[in-house]
């Protein structure tokens, strides 16, 4: 009976509307193209073609001024046997391990703090978000003045008699990378605090109040009630900051130029030195960028998987 009705209805519709619908259907395939066309052209021109070009160049010995022949997997073999590459990969890994937890914890702490109705929160908020609007190159230059041998931080440390000689924040192999991480954390916290704050403002107050009535402390309520409700956003912040850490360039480039030696050279900085200047190895640098691309994909996939699990 149902089938017959459907069939009947469908048949009636078809018989009534066929003349009007048929011409529209004939042309429908290009209608979406009109809407997505401009974006598609931009994406293809500035994203997919360069990506394809990078993929092709990675298998050649091309220089940045042209030339080059196909060399198969040779660039990748060179990459994986290059000590400088592994050093740069190690620094990037260290960057990830240091910067991501620091950003997540600090942003979460600040977001919770700003979300409370504490006195002065209205002043603290714009201060927290100010790094967000500053270009990274400006931030890095600013920190260069703060961290230099006669910079603000060294003057404070010497003024407080904590050190007698200036600390080489930018010139010591042991501290140069940490200084760059510090800048990344300072700059990144504003954005991630904003994201977490938005999530916190959607958290149900009833659960918190119920826990408070049960005698749970602020710390206990935050840890056991509030944070679990924004777990998905915390994971998102971790993924975004991890991807940013993998792609870090400006901070070490401006602060130390990757030095001293190669002690603060990250993968993107290594890529830059290998294939940006005229005459350098565009093919090899393209291969490095593909390796970096795969690393970012892997981190994103892991993060996505964790995110899905945490949302269940």
């Amino acid at each position: 009976m149902t089938t017959a009705t459907v069939a009947t209805t469908a048949g009636r519709r078809a018989s009534v509307r066929r003349p009007a619908v048929a011409p529209a259907r004939r042309h429908r395939w290009w209608v979406p193209l009109v809407f997505i066309g401009p974006v598609l052209v931009i994406q293809v021109t500035f994203l997919f073609l360069p990506l394809g070009n990078t993929f092709v160049l990675a298998f050649t010995d091309a220089s940045t001024i042209g030339g080059g022949t196909f060399t198969g997997w040779e660039n990748f073999a060179t990459i994986f046997t290059s000590p400088v590459f592994w050093e740069a990969a190690g620094h990037t890994g260290l960057y990830l391990v240091l910067a991501v937890p620091a950003i997540v914890c600090l942003s979460l702490f600040l977001a919770i703090l700003v979300n409370t109705s504490m006195r002065g929160a209205g002043i603290v908020r714009p201060i927290l978000f100010s790094p967000l609007v500053m270009p990274m190159a400006v931030v890095a230059l600013m920190f260069q003045y703060v961290l230099s041998s006669d910079g603000l931080l060294n003057q404070v440390l010497r003024g407080l008699s904590i050190v007698t000689e200036p600390v080489g924040f930018l010139t010591s192999s042991r501290l140069a990378l940490l200084s760059a991480v510090l800048v990344t954390v300072w700059k990144g916290c504003g954005l991630y605090t904003l994201i977490l704050l938005a999530a916190l403002q959607n958290v149900s107050r009833e659960l918190d109040q119920a826990a408070e009535l049960d005698g749970a402390s602020w710390l206990r309520r935050t840890w056991s009630v509030t944070i679990p409700q924004i777990r998905g956003t915390v994971v998102l912040v971790a993924i975004l900051s991890a991807i940013a850490a993998l792609r870090v360039f400006t901070e070490p480039f401006v602060l130390t130029g990757g030095g001293p030696g190669t002690s603060s050279t990250t993968m993107v900085l290594y890529l830059f030195t290998q294939g940006i200047s005229p005459g350098t190895q565009a093919g090899f640098a393209s291969a490095v960028s593909l390796v970096l691309f795969v690393a970012v994909l892997l981190v994103s996939a892991v993060g996505w998987s964790v995110s899905r699990r945490s949302n269940r």
Binding site: W29, G66, G67, S172, L255, T262
Partner: protein
Amino acid sequence: MQRNIRVSAVATVATAGIALSGCGLSAAPSDEADVSGPVEGSITFQTMQLSPTFDDYINGVIDAFEQEYPGTEVEWVDVPSDQAARKVAADSAAGSLPDVMDLDSGTLAPLGRDGRVLDMAEHRGDLEEAYVPSAWDSFDYGTTEVAALPWYLNSPVLMMNSDLVGQAGVPGTPATYSDLLDAAERVAEATGKAGFQPTSIGFPNYLLSLGVPLVNEDSTQAVVNTPEAVEFLEHLAELHELGAIPADSVTAAQRSEIDTFSQGDTAYLETGPSRLTIIQENAPEIFEQIEVAEPMGADAGTTWVVAHGLAVSATSENAATAVAFAEFMTSPENQLALAEQSSVFPSTTASLEDPFFSAEPTDLATEARGIVAQSLFDGGTMPKPPAVDAEFATALWSEVQTAITGETDAEEALAAAEARLTELLQSRAQ
């Protein structure tokens, strides 16, 4: 039918994508441009950051050229200095280099090594005698013997903060980099200030003036680990420990040595005379203290020189016109006219003989101008080996940074530098 259209569209896009994906694989030109033809037709002329300051001068020379060679047309384009290298690389990869390019010897190096510009030694070798020898030799990249006709030059003077030098009681003016290190030590001991700031770009010059060749005869091996280099590096490390060079020198940004000198934090600065204007504007009280002297190695003929030249693309369709224009632009008269309204130096010896350069100095700028012109004219300058470009200098500096800060041994650092630079040179040779 619709399916066919869609399949065709996708296939077209994919084919275009694959074809365009091969961008950057253009080979070096096999057929060199013909320079024997008539001087006529249109050419493009690219300069590095000369507009708007020198609009009148450049347009005037172009007009004069077009009048002298009827039927020619020169289209002038100017690019910012910091974008010139990338534009040249992109143009080269796309096979659309300008006909005539104003480039410094470092930026021109990849094109010269790859034979993408005309060899002027082959086409205008008769002009060699007209130019300062170090300028002519600055464009020797092996495969292309002279990749450009030399245009304007820059070479340094030694600027001294007379207050700091006087307090330190440094006897005489340093004539070599070794003297400079000794003077820096005295300045630090007496004043607590640094003597001078070593730089990544300057480091190869320091070694060259000490007799370290940097590369072997055919530029396939780096030669930087010599006893002279080890001694110099160890001395720099001692100065770092003493505070006789700024603590942040190793990771300082390029050109920051001018800032430290302008702030009165260093006693000596070896740089081009044009910096005097910057210091006068930014630090008038330090400018009052400045004395200028001959640069390091002027007596030994090892002072550095940075040469800009006019290179002609090997694929130029009007190569004869392009070469004629390069010659016209770099003629002694036109170079002198440029020098008279700027702080650069001409590359032709005839221009350097003009009284403009030998007149009695009236201020620091004219004194510095006379010193540099004399040094260029008397053969006091030396070109860097063509393989020693910015990439080479950066890699060398990167390896010696930790030796300067005392974290690694000087000899080990130079051995590592030699290995890394040899790898770089061999990758270029392939």
